[in-house]
């Protein structure tokens, strides 16, 4: 079994395209098995805590912070933004199913009509455009605070990304390929740290496992800096001495699609504290 897993993983890391026989479900269950073996003491449900699940002291500090988060004032700003009516009297809630409650777990999704991945933020901006309002900058503070509140309406919802159809599968595969491709001066891929070396330390930080990473965005890093998932991609790439891409670029959207799919089945919580 170990041999089979290692060779499967080796093939994935070499970027061999399984496209004809591809199965996101198989990729996901293979990775879950891999992490169960690599980090046997961590329960699947706790993958959402990442490095915190590996360090009880850090986790208790996190729990203590989350009881009364100092970012609650900033979060209130996001709430005001979400609840404020547009000039035409409509609200953001009119652009989402169930008024925005328990929907964030369905994003991103693949839109067959346009042939692109659509993120939660894309839907926010489409809503603004449709109602004659100015769109928000991707990766900006306003979008971060608004989505921090908007996505919190889906807390507890299990991540539920669907990959169905040729177009969706192609976008998933592109995201997966990006994840496993080395880039930058240090020649790391995302997988180098978060798959091969999950649980190990890089300088003073412990590396989280890939499954469970996408369920809790945006975050307040240090309790104060609102950070979306794609902001974090940029930060990670800078750390790897690779050139970061722009928020809402096709590569980042495909990557977000792939990564969020991999966190399927895990409960969402937004926003959260990270150091």
């Amino acid at each position: 079994m170990k041999q089979k897993l290692t060779s499967l993983l080796a093939l994935l890391l070499l970027g061999v395209s399984f496209s004809v026989y591809a199965s996101p479900a198989k990729d996901r269950s293979a990775l879950i098995k891999y992490y169960k073996q690599k980090l046997p003491d961590i329960k699947f449900q706790d993958y959402i805590y990442g490095a915190l699940a590996m360090n009880p002291d850090a986790k208790s500090q996190y729990d203590s912070f989350m009881e009364f988060p100092s970012y609650s004032i900033d979060l209130d700003k996001g709430k005001s933004m979400w609840e404020a009516p547009f000039k035409n009297g409509k609200h953001f809630s009119s652009c989402f199913k169930h008024g925005g409650k328990n929907v964030a777990g369905n994003y991103p999704y693949f839109d067959n009509a346009t042939g692109h991945v659509v993120t939660f933020e894309n839907t926010v901006n489409a809503c603004l455009k449709k109602n004659g309002e100015k769109e928000l900058e991707y990766g900006g503070k306003e979008m971060g605070l608004l989505t921090a509140y908007a996505r919190s309406l889906s807390d507890g919802m299990k991540v539920n990304i669907k990959v169905k159809g040729k177009g969706a599968l192609a976008a998933y595969e592109k995201g997966k390929k990006y994840y496993y491709t080395r880039n930058g001066q240090l020649n790391f891929s995302c997988a180098s740290c978060h798959v091969q070396n999950a649980g190990k330390f890089i300088r003073s930080d412990q590396l989280s496992m890939m499954i469970g990473q996408a369920s809790h965005w945006p975050e307040f890093r240090g309790g104060t800096e609102i950070t979306t998932l794609q902001d974090r991609f940029k930060q990670c790439q800078k750390n790897m001495r690779a050139k970061p891409l722009k928020a809402n670029s096709e590569d980042y959207n495909d990557l977000e699609y792939f990564l969020t799919y991999m966190s399927n089945g895990l409960p969402m919580l937004t926003p959260v504290y990270r150091k």
Binding site: E67, F68, S70, S72, I73, D74, D76, G223
Partner: protein, 104 residues
């Protein structure tokens, strides 16, 4: 100021654990406005007083070193459920911030 202060007071064993969050820009007076190029005048809380049932437990003079939206956590020995924790803060422009919470 609406919702300028949020507070929590709970028992942690036999001490009262208090957490206070005050919405305030805490401008140091040394930063420049990016658009106008002019200095943003100093505007920060310089007095922070906490009381338990009216008796002062913290009397602090703050300076510009305290960050925006100050978050204060402290523990009071000898408190019990039902006691009243009150916060009184004043900034350098004379604005007052008050809040109180009954210990859970």
């Amino acid at each position: 100021m609406a919702e300028a202060m949020k507070m929590r007071a709970t028992m942690e064993g036999d001490v009262v654990d208090v957490k206070v969050l005050i919405q305030h820009p805490m401008d140091t007076g040394l930063m420049k406005d990016k658009k106008t190029g002019k200095l943003i005048p100093a505007h920060f809380i310089d007095l922070f007083v906490a009381t338990l049932n009216g008796k002062t437990v913290i009397d602090a003079q703050w300076g510009v070193g305290v960050a925006q939206n100050p978050f204060v956590g402290f523990r009071i020995k000898g408190g019990k459920p039902g006691d009243k924790v009150a916060i009184h803060a004043v900034d350098n422009l004379g604005n007052k911030f008050d809040g109180e919470e009954i210990v859970a």
